[in-house]
């Protein structure tokens, strides 16, 4: 049950209430390209990721300018951005439900005695690949060092000669690119519609609370756990229960980790 997409979701965290809406936007962009040009979903991933690059620059610019108290202001600001995105998406795609229904993805993959849905396998593989690459990039490259240093202490990072603004900007580009790619994966598995973003945002917050900010491997575990709880809820009680359960999990996690999420930014 869509474990893959929830894993990716956890990677690109910040107190960004428009996060889910960006994922949905990625899904719609992917859908339009698929419907218009018939691109294969694998090719759609990088295209949708690139399509969100302008949004990333806007987000970076806006969030850099939010005043103190940073967390509350960014929350309010992105709440507004979320409304903006939903309205625009509703205007362009008219609130219709869209699905990237590529026939090759519906086919099942025979693995010995296991029959797996190819779309889900693709999502899971892509999610694992992205998390792996991101982990390598963050721990093994100079860029990763810069990003991590900026996240821990921007002033100190600037003092030792790290381009803090650059690191910030590339983080936003990467995070929103991931959202776009996630959106495509999401759209191959579920119908996207403009209001779907809220639930995705709440799930992303739950995941980052569970995993702790910036711990990529715990994000994988948390993503698996959340995906399983979601799947059990849907099969046990029916799909209507998904949203309330996600909201309940958010409340519970917030209360349990009231001091958590110490900083606004992931990595």
């Amino acid at each position: 049950m869509a474990l893959g997409f929830s894993m990716i979701l956890g990677v690109s965290r910040s107190l960004n209430l428009a996060h889910g809406d960006l994922v949905v936007l990625g899904g719609y962009v992917g859908y339009s390209l698929w419907a218009a040009a018939g691109l294969s979903p694998v090719l759609l991933l990088p295209v949708a990721a690139l399509a969100l690059a302008p949004a990333a620059l806007v987000w970076d610019w806006l969030l850099k300018r939010t005043p103190e108290p940073k967390e509350l202001s960014s929350l309010v600001l992105t709440f507004g951005l979320s409304l903006l995105l939903q309205t625009v998406m509703r205007a362009i795609w008219r609130g219709e439900y869209r699905l990237i229904a590529e026939s090759s993805l519906g086919a099942s993959l025979q693995l010995g005695t296991l029959a797996l849905n190819r779309g889900r396998v693709l999502a899971a593989v892509a999610a694992l690949a992205v998390v792996g690459l991101l982990w390598l990039a963050l721990t093994r490259t100079r860029w990763g060092q810069a990003v991590r240093a900026t996240s821990i202490d921007p002033q100190a990072a600037a003092l030792v000669g790290i381009n803090v603004d650059g690191a910030r900007r590339s983080t936003f580009l990467l995070a929103l690119g991931l959202s776009g790619a996630t959106g495509v994966l999401f759209a191959t598995l579920h119908y996207v519609h403009p209001a779907a973003g809220v639930e995705l945002t709440l799930m992303a917050i739950v995941l980052s609370i569970w995993a702790g900010v910036g711990h990529l491997r715990s994000v994988l575990a948390a993503g698996l756990l959340l995906g399983m709880i979601e799947a059990l809820t849907v099969t046990g009680w029916g799909p209507g229960w998904r949203e309330p359960v996600v909201a309940l999990m958010l409340l519970g996690s917030l209360l349990a980790r009231s001091g958590g999420l110490a900083r606004g930014h992931a990595h």
Partner: protein, 315 residues
């Protein structure tokens, strides 16, 4: 004092509008919705006066709407039903307020958002009581008051004056609180919670009171709305718009001021419906989002700066 006079004057002018418009139903409906939103924005502002920033006022609005609709369909008179809905909203809001024991600031805001989403989801599922996604229809209309001229209480005009009265009551409540010891306690907790509690002020009861009062006013609006529109649906009354619009309007109009949120609510709503809607039918909500972003970015200090401005505005 001056803002109180301005409010009374404004109310008098607004009360004279329906005859001037010839009781045109569409404009009356538009204006009464604007007043309801203004009252919700004032209620939101009342809570913000005590500190918490809410992302979940839709929860209280929806509780009021559903509470009133159910009571009314159960045979209670609409007035009693709206009052009952208001109490349901106050109780629900106090329940949400309990989150403040563990959560602060941005995390409390997220908690209120989660509560609103939770209630919306429950209203969708619990179809034996709430009618599920189809909602409840056939809510009785508000009765005509026998001792007033018919033209003032019938149909849209009746809703107009009731919404205006509710807005007046919300503003009156806020003005009263600001001048009383309760308001001092709210402001003290908002600005310096630690120092206030050292002085012997226990935060929780005051925060719960602020939540309950804010929830009461919001839920009364919800109940009135249910009886004007005569249908309630989860996606209608628990819509996130009732969480985000009060926040936008109150922030835009000036946090913690008496008239700012209500004035901004009426102005923004009418601008959005009368100007933006005909120009860009699909995009008219964009105005709210842009207004919010502009306020956060360009008012010095953003929310905190407005807070300081608000403190200067009253003794």
């Amino acid at each position: 004092m001056r803002s109180g006079l301005a409010a009374l004057l404004g109310m008098g002018v607004l009360a004279a509008v329906p005859p001037a418009l010839g009781f045109h139903p569409y404009y009356l409906f538009l204006l009464s919705t604007a007043f309801l939103l203004a009252a919700v924005a004032s209620a939101w502002n009342l809570l913000a006066y005590a500190g918490p920033i809410s992302f979940g006022h839709a929860a209280f609005f929806g509780l009021g709407a559903y509470g009133a609709a159910l009571a009314s369909l159960g045979g209670l008179s609409p007035w009693g039903a709206i009052a009952l809905g208001g109490l349901a909203g106050a109780a629900g809001a106090a329940g949400v307020g309990l989150l403040s024991i563990r959560l602060r600031g941005a995390y409390l805001a997220l908690g209120t958002l989660a509560c609103a989403e939770l209630l919306r989801g429950l209203a969708l599922i619990w179809s034996e009581v709430t009618g599920g996604g189809a909602g409840l229809a056939g809510i009785p209309a508000l009765p005509v008051l026998p001792w007033l001229p018919r033209v003032l209480t019938e149909g849209r005009a009746g809703a107009y004056y009731l919404a205006l009265a509710l807005l007046g009551a919300a503003l009156g409540l806020f003005a009263l609180i600001r001048r009383s010891r309760v308001g001092l306690a709210f402001a003290a907790l908002r600005e310096e919670e630690e120092r206030a509690s050292l002085l012997g002020l226990r935060p929780l009861p005051w925060t719960l009171l602020a939540f309950a009062l804010s929830g009461l006013v919001t839920a009364l609006c919800g109940g009135l709305y249910a009886h004007v529109v005569r249908v309630v649906e989860p996606d209608l009354v628990f819509s996130r718009h009732y969480s985000i619009l009060p926040l936008v309007m109150a922030t835009f109009g000036g946090l913690h001021t008496l008239l700012g949120p209500a004035a901004a609510a009426i102005a923004l709503y009418l601008l959005s419906e009368l100007v933006l809607h005909p120009l860009l039918p699909a995009l008219h909500q964009v105005g709210y989002a842009l207004a919010l972003i502009a306020v956060i970015l360009y008012l010095p200090g953003g929310l905190a700066g407005l807070r300081r401005g608000g403190r200067r505005a009253h003794p």
